[in-house]
Each structure stands twice: as C-alpha cells, then as structure tokens.
C-alpha cells in the first residue's frame, strides 16, 4: 500500500500551482478522444469536472442517482461563494482568503491546497458570470458582495438566498452543452455500487440502474468520485434525503484512505427539530447572522414562561436578554465561525435556556436590523425617521429584499411570521470536512481514482468557513482536476478502451449482486429507516457537538451492535429488478453503519479539540476549544482492513511554512 505522499510541489507557496501546471504531463487533443473518464456525482464538483473534462476532449460518463444532474444537493446552498476579488477594496487578497481559510479550519488543512483554492477563486466568479449565472448586482451594474462568518472582509458573491442553485445550474448548463455535443454520456437514476480495480488502478465501476434494477459495467481510464459528504449518517441533517456516503465508502474499502472522518460541521442556523417523525432538518443561510442577533432570556423564569406559552419573546425587555455571542466574542459578535456559534448555542441550551418545548432552540432576532434599515431608508427618502410605523414598514422591506425567501421558508415550516417575532434556530449537521484522502493532484491512494468536492478532505481542515464549499467544489471541478488528471492519463494514451468482460469486473459485479440479494432476501421485521434513525441518535448524542472518551467508546460498541442487528432484522420489500427505493436506501444505510464506527474511532483517537471536533477533555477554563498542535497537527488517514475497528491510522504531518499557528480567537 502506498505511503502517504501528498505530492506537494516544491517552491514558494505562491508559485506552487503555476509551476506545477507548467511541469505536469499533458495529453494531446487527439489522444484525449481515446480516453474515458467516469465521474460519479453531478453536483458543483462533479458537474463542473464532467463539463470541463468533456470540453477538453475526454469521453465522459457521468452518473447521478437523482432523475437529473440538476437535483444534486449543491443546489441547496444558500448564502454565497467566496472569492478573493477585492471588488470592495476592503483589503482582501489571495493571501487573506488563504489565511482566513486555514485559520477558520483551525490549522488542520494543507497549506498548498488552500492557497491554490484561494488563487483560483477569482476565476470562478469570472467563469460563472460568463456562463450567465445571475449574481446579485448593485445599481451601477457591478457585482455585489456580502460578508460571512469568521472573516473581516466582504468577499462573498451571492444570488439572493439561492447561490448554490444558480451555480449548480451554471455547471449543469455547461454539462448540457457537452451532453448535446455527445461528449458527456449522462446516466441519471444510476447508483455507483463499486469501483473496479485492474492491476491496482481504478478502471471502472459497477452501477445499478435505479429504474430497472439492472447491474451495469462501465470501464474507464480514470474514475472521479464527486459524491458529496456523509452528513446523513446523523439521519437528521440538512443534507438531501438521498445524500449518501456509499461511493466514498466503497472506494475506501477498495484501498482509498478515509481522512478525518470525525470533522463534521454543525451549522448554527437551522430550524429546530419539531417532532419524532421528522425526516430532515432545514438550514437557513448563515448570512442571516449578518443582520440577526442571537439571544436567549437571561432569567430562567422567562424561559419557563415562554415554554409554557405565557410569554412572547417580543415582551422580554432588552436588559433581560442575553446576546451571548456578542457577550462572549465582542470582536466578531454574531459573526463568529460556525463551530463556535453552534457550541455556544448548545452551551446555553444545556444550561437550561433553550426557548422551545424541546429546550433546544435560541432566538435569531431581526428587530434591531429592521429598525436600523428602516431609519436609513426613511433618511434616504427624506421621510420622518421618528415615525415608528413607517420605519418598521421600510425596514421590513429592506430585510425582505435581502432574505425574503428564507423568511418565507421559515414561515412555511414553523407557521410563525419572522418579521414580527424572532426566529428560533438550533444547530444541525450540515457538512463534512472529512472525506477521502487525496494528494495535491486530488488523487486518492488508489492510482487513477480521484475524489473532489465535499467527498474529499483537503481544504477545510477541521471547520469550513461559510461560502467556501461552493468555492471548493467549483475550484476542484473547473480548474484543478482537469489539469492534474492529465498528468496521470498521459500514460494511458495507448491503453485503448477498458474491456469490461474481465474477471475483475466479474468479481466486482458478483460481490454487488450478492449483497443486494442478501438485503432483499433478509426477511427481517423492521424498515431501513428504523435503523437509520437509531444510528442517527447514537451519532448525534455521542459524536455530535461535544464528544468525550466514554461516549465515543460506547458509540463504537453500539454502532457495531446496531450493524449486526440491521443485517439480521432489516426488511427490504420488493425485488432487486425494479424501481426499489427501499433497496437503494438499505445499501446506503448499511454503509453508514460501517462509516459511523470509523467516525467514532477517529474522534476517539483525536483527543484534542479543533474546529468542529470538540473533545470535552480538551478545553480551556472558559470552555473554549483547546487545540493540541504538538500531538495532533496531522491528517488522520484511515486504511481499511476488513472491519472499521481494524482500520489502520496513517498520519500526514501538516507543515505550516507560511502561517504561524495561533490559538484561534474571535474574542
């Protein structure tokens, strides 16, 4: 098995990517026609990669489990995309974006990768505008920006609260152009069941047609995994119902190391859980924190009165409110990074100040923003700034213009008007920084097998900054992978088409069919959801916002036991040769039940607190996270050895030559 070589180019940080591009091997255009590439997943990373690879001349086969590439969950990203354009002239630069990202990630990401990300970020905006992505603009016709948590500049480009949608549709349109030209062959409603290795290299996949149940073989010279993150391991998350870790987990079992599985992002501004039968959680953009103030009552009796429905939040006087983020972190206030904001909410709720029935909710209040904007608008229009009704009306208009769709979404779900009463929010699982280990070229530990976007681990360290996921997905897909993959494929120009009638494909297919048969013929008593929910509870309670040794150890045991129970007692209806959603779901949950254990094992191993990973054993007296650079300044890359518990840890030491490691402080 390969040792961990990140293949970071030599030379000064700012020249690494340029030099690397100048020195890697290229495939000439005529030869690209002889090369097939499989892309699994069609979100921002997969969609943009498929489009660009096809445009370069490769034959691309793209796969998605949804009925169209446009459904990928990147579409749900709301707030925006970062880019070091410095259009606002507020001191932004590539270095500052790089610095913010490394710091925001609590110094657990790879310098060279992050710098490259910051370097290409500006290009993404140019590219998307050229594609017809309708970003928000100012009256002068130029692009507008807003600020996001954890940084001191306005570098976030956005399209109202639907930035992910617009960017994804941009990538989808680029794909459409190539599908129309016949350069991408699109496989909708197909699920990758396994990767096929020939002579140690990734040479194809086994896929299942989700409509007919047919098992298909697809050969290729390289396979790119862009299947997103594994947040759904928690059952309740902001991910789409179909989001899954199966492609990533399958390649892990075939030799790709899995890095930092415990680095999960819990997003602070989600709509709280309402009931036992809830299927998913809804996130509201972090951009809300630009104008919303987060608070809980100062007095316990107010909390009780609110829970009993005797008191309304608007009736609580200003001095009886605890704006805890502003209190604890005066410099950043409500704009602290996500992990900090989430933990602070949990801290207040654990102390008994949660404001809904479940005790797990805090207020996000727009009343001061409404008044502030209203006065501003009245002033601009030359109207009376002291007319309260007018100010409220104008202020609400401004807020509606900025966040209208989010407010509407909240009202539809909660049935309360957030213009009149504060929103209730609580953290929820949102994004996974951990993922498949990749080198600088985005190649996994299996030759010819790549991982991009949220599926890999590389750029966000232990915590991702807001509006950086879209940036990373598109950077990987449009600008990084299409170059770096050529270096590998240049050796394949004489290989010819990969045959699929070989014993490697036979074996892989048999393995897939056997497992499907096992699930379908299991004749247990409980539906898949039953197990998924139980796994989610274990993960949330023991591997959630705060973790400790005892809980993690018991989580490992419980997940193992649950996995055994699943295979004994799950009931999957129907047959495998038809449209069978339960069967697809069963396979995904079976993989989560393995990944969950590795997740807990990784969290147990890392006894420091960093970013989204908070170990109760490692905190300051004030309850802030305490990092341990001496012992944990590494990427934990796990090698599969049969059972999750047998996984072997490989450490990639993180070298910081351009940034001084500091305690992350937002005070």
């Amino acid at each position: 098995m390969a040792t961990l070589d990140a293949k970071i180019p030599k030379g000064p940080l700012k020249d690494k990517w340029t030099n690397h591009k100048n020195n890697i091997n290229l495939v000439n255009p005529a030869n690209k026609r002889l090369i097939d590439v499989i892309v699994v997943g069609t979100g921002l990373a997969g969609g943009s990669a498929a489009a660009t690879l096809a445009e370069l001349g490769y034959n691309v086969k793209a796969f998605c489990f949804q009925d169209s590439p446009r459904r990928a969950h990147s579409i749900a990203a709301q707030g925006g995309i970062n880019a070091a354009k410095n259009y606002q002239g507020d001191g932004d630069s590539i270095y500052r974006l790089f610095y913010d990202t490394v710091k925001g990630g609590d110094y657990r990401s790879r310098e060279a990768n992050v710098y490259r990300l910051a370097e290409v970020s500006a290009n993404i905006i140019d590219q998307c505008v050229a594609q017809g992505v309708p970003f928000a603009r100012e009256y002068g016709g130029l692009l507008d920006n807003r600020s996001f948590g954890g940084v001191l500049v306005s570098r976030t480009f956005y399209a109202k609260g639907q930035t992910g949608q617009q960017l994804l549709l941009g990538a989808y349109s680029a794909m459409n152009r190539q599908i129309g030209r016949g350069k991408i062959k699109m496989y909708n409603r197909h699920e990758m069941m396994d990767v096929v290795k020939v002579d140690g290299k990734a040479r194809g996949i086994i896929a299942r047609n989700l409509v007919t149940g047919e098992i298909e073989r697809h050969g290729a010279h390289a396979v790119v995994i862009a299947s997103g993150g594994y947040g759904n391991i928690f059952f309740l998350s902001t991910n789409a119902m179909g989001s899954n870790a199966s492609a990533a987990w399958k390649i892990h079992k075939k030799g790709a190391y899995f890095a930092n599985p415990c680095f999960t992002q819990i997003h602070p501004t989600c709509i709280p859980v309402s009931g036992e039968l809830q299927a998913k959680l809804t996130l509201m953009s972090e951009s809300l924190r630009n104008d919303g103030r987060i608070w809980v009552p100062k007095k316990k009796e107010d909390v009780e009165a609110i829970r009993a429905g005797k008191l309304r939040p608007t009736q609580i006087k200003e001095e009886d409110r605890d704006y805890y983020l502003e209190r604890r972190y005066p410099a950043f206030g409500n704009l602290v990074p996500r992990d900090v904001a989430s933990r602070a909410a949990k801290e207040r709720c654990d102390a008994g100040y949660g404001v809904n029935q479940t005790g797990e909710a805090v207020y996000l209040d727009f009343s001061s923003a409404i008044t502030r904007y209203g006065k501003e608008a009245a002033h601009v229009k030359g109207l009376n700034e002291n007319d309260n009704a007018l100010v409220q009306k104008l202020g609400k208009e401004v807020v509606a213009n900025k966040y209208g769709n989010l407010f509407q979404m909240y009202e539809k779900i909660v049935d309360e008007n957030p213009y009149e009463t504060p929103m209730m929010i609580y953290p929820a699982v949102h994004y996974t920084m951990g993922g498949i280990w990749v080198d600088y070229n985005l190649m996994t530990t299996v030759p010819g097998l790549y991982a991009i976007g949220e599926a890999n681990f590389s750029d966000h360290g232990a915590n991702r900054l807001g509006a950086s996921a879209l940036m990373q997905g598109l950077a990987d897909g449009y600008f990084v992978l299409p170059y770096t993959i050529g270096d590998y494929l240049s050796n394949d120009i004489r290989t010819g088409a990969i045959p699929t009638d070989t014993k490697e494909f036979d074996e892989a297919e048999k393995e897939v069919v056997d497992r499907l048969e096992k699930l379908i013929n299991n004749e247990g008593t409980k539906p898949v959801d039953h197990f998924h929910k139980r796994l989610g509870k274990i993960m949330w309670n023991k591997c959630g916002m705060a973790r400790n040794e005892k809980d993690l150890k018991s989580a490992i045991e419980e997940i193992k036991a649950l996995r055994e129970e699943f295979w004994k007692d799950v009931r999957v209806p129907g047959t495998r040769n038809e449209f069978n959603e339960e069967l697809a779901k069963a396979g995904r949950v079976a993989d989560f039940l393995e990944l969950g254990e590795l997740f807990a094992k990784d969290a147990l191993e890392r006894t420091e607190s960093c970013g989204g990973h908070f170990r109760e054993e490692s905190q300051t007296e004030e309850g802030e996270a305490k990092r341990d650079d001496e012992n944990f300044k590494y990427v934990a890359a796990w090698e599969y050895k049969g059972e999750p518990s047998d996984a072997v840890l490989h450490k990639e030491d993180l070298v910081y030559e351009n940034i001084e490691l500091k305690t992350r402080s937002y005070k």
């Binding site: 169209s68 140019d126 209806p573």
Partner: protein, 250 residues
C-alpha cells in the same frame, strides 16, 4: 388527524395503474406532506406490503425532485411551495386526499407517483446554456456591467427548479413556462444574448418534439409554480421566437 388517502399505484411504465385507498391516523399538522407518506410507507413495509414510490430529495423546496398532484393541484393546495414544504396543517381531520403523479405524455410514469422528467433535460441539451468554455480564461466578471433590473429579472427567471408543476397543472401539458424561464434568463443577460436566436429556436423545437402541448395562456402554471415564475417569461420567449424567426438571416 386521521385521513383517507387515494393514491395512484402503478407497477412500472408498462403496467396499467389504479387508485388505491389507504387510511392513516395520528398525523400532526407540523409534519410535512412527504413525512406523512414516509410514515405510511414504513407502516406498509411492516405489514409486508409494497411501499409507494415517489420522488423527493432535498426536502427544502429547491432541488425540484418532488412532485405529486394533490387534491387536483400540483404540489397541493398551498402556494409558493413544493410538496416537500407542504405541511399537513393545510388539511383537516377526516379529509380525503387524492394523490396522483404529474401527468403528461412527456412525463411517463416510472412507478406509482414517480415520473420521468428527462424531457426537460433534453430541452436544456438543445440550448439551455451559454457556449463558453470552462477553461477559466474569461474576462473579469465586472468587465460588463449588467443593469440591476435586468440582472434581477434574469435571476427571477433562473430560480425555476425544473419540477414540472407547470406542465402538470396546465390543461394542455405545455412546458412553455419552463422553457420561457430559461430562454428569458439568458436573453436578459449580455452573456446569453449572443446566441439568443439559435437558443430559442432549438429549445422550442425540442420542446415540441417531446410531445408537450401548446400554451393557451390560462395562467395556471404561474399560480401553481412553487417559485412564482412569471408568465412574462412566456411572453418574452414568444417575442424572442418571433424575432428569431423573422430575422433575415436563415
């Protein structure tokens, strides 16, 4: 609340389907419509029956995967939402709810309530893009200012989620709101204007080939559209089409 559900069941594309009655109880108003169906499905599985197939994914109203014709309306009785955001508080105890798939010749049923909307994808393949390479060698994003009004209108058109409610609700199964939105988005931006003529003709040609009906301006699509895409977009498409087909260049 307790409800009677009348649901379309159809084994696969080639089978005939029929409405089947189901009873469900103890549904809370805070549940979403799809969570209600989740509960029904898990009950069916535990009873050893086949669960009901329906499309869904993000469950926050943006991916466009969920569909369903509920009590005679696409995405049900609420406005500005997809089925996944429709909450049970919109119904009353004892209600009978009809649940049918989106119906159109161009949207064949895959199974039960799930339909095949790839016709929409094929329309996009025909011209739903700007022909610009993704190489990154494009000019600076601020090189061409875009009037805010046009940028906002383009954005509004671009918020279409491709769910197909417009087709499902149209008495003619017309796809013109969907196509009009895409044509408009690009026609309103300088980046898309260049190939506007070819785009509108190619997309309309593909739309017709897919077997969608013709628009008779009833306006039902605009009302049922979960994203409130305006009829103006159809007018703009008609205009663009007229412009493109009457221009001297063939």
């Amino acid at each position: 609340m307790n409800l009677t559900l009348k649901i379309w069941r159809q084994k696969d594309a080639n089978s005939k389907g029929k409405m089947v009655d189901y009873q469900i109880s103890d549904i809370s108003g805070d549940m979403s419509f799809l969570e209600m169906l989740d509960v029904l499905n898990n009950q069916l599985i535990e009873k050893g029956e086949e669960p009901i197939a329906f499309d869904h994914d993000c469950r926050e109203g943006i991916c466009g995967m969920c569909s369903l014709y509920i009590n005679g309306e696409a995405h049900g009785p609420d406005r500005g939402v997809t089925t996944c955001q429709l909450h049970m508080r919109k119904f009353k105890d004892g209600d009978t709810i009809y649940i049918e798939p989106f119906r159109a010749k161009a949207f064949p049923v895959v199974k039960d309530l799930a339909v095949d909307r790839s016709a929409f994808d094929r329309i996009q393949h025909a011209g739903g893009y700007v022909s610009v390479n993704t190489s990154g060698n494009t000019q600076d994003a601020n090189a061409i200012p875009v009037q805010k009004e046009n940028a906002d209108m383009a954005f509004d058109a671009a918020t279409c989620i491709g769910c197909g409610a417009c087709v499902a609700t149209c008495k003619n199964s017309s796809a013109m709101l969907f196509v009009g939105a895409k044509v408009s988005q690009y026609a309103l931006l300088p980046q898309g204007e260049v190939e506007a003529k070819e785009r509108v003709q190619n997309m309309v040609k593909q739309m017709d080939a897919e077997g969608f009906g013709n628009c008779s301006n009833t306006g039902a699509c605009e009302v049922e559209c979960p994203k409130g895409i305006s009829l103006e977009n159809i007018a703009r498409m008609n205009r663009e089409y007229l412009k493109a087909t009457t221009s001297t260049k063939d």
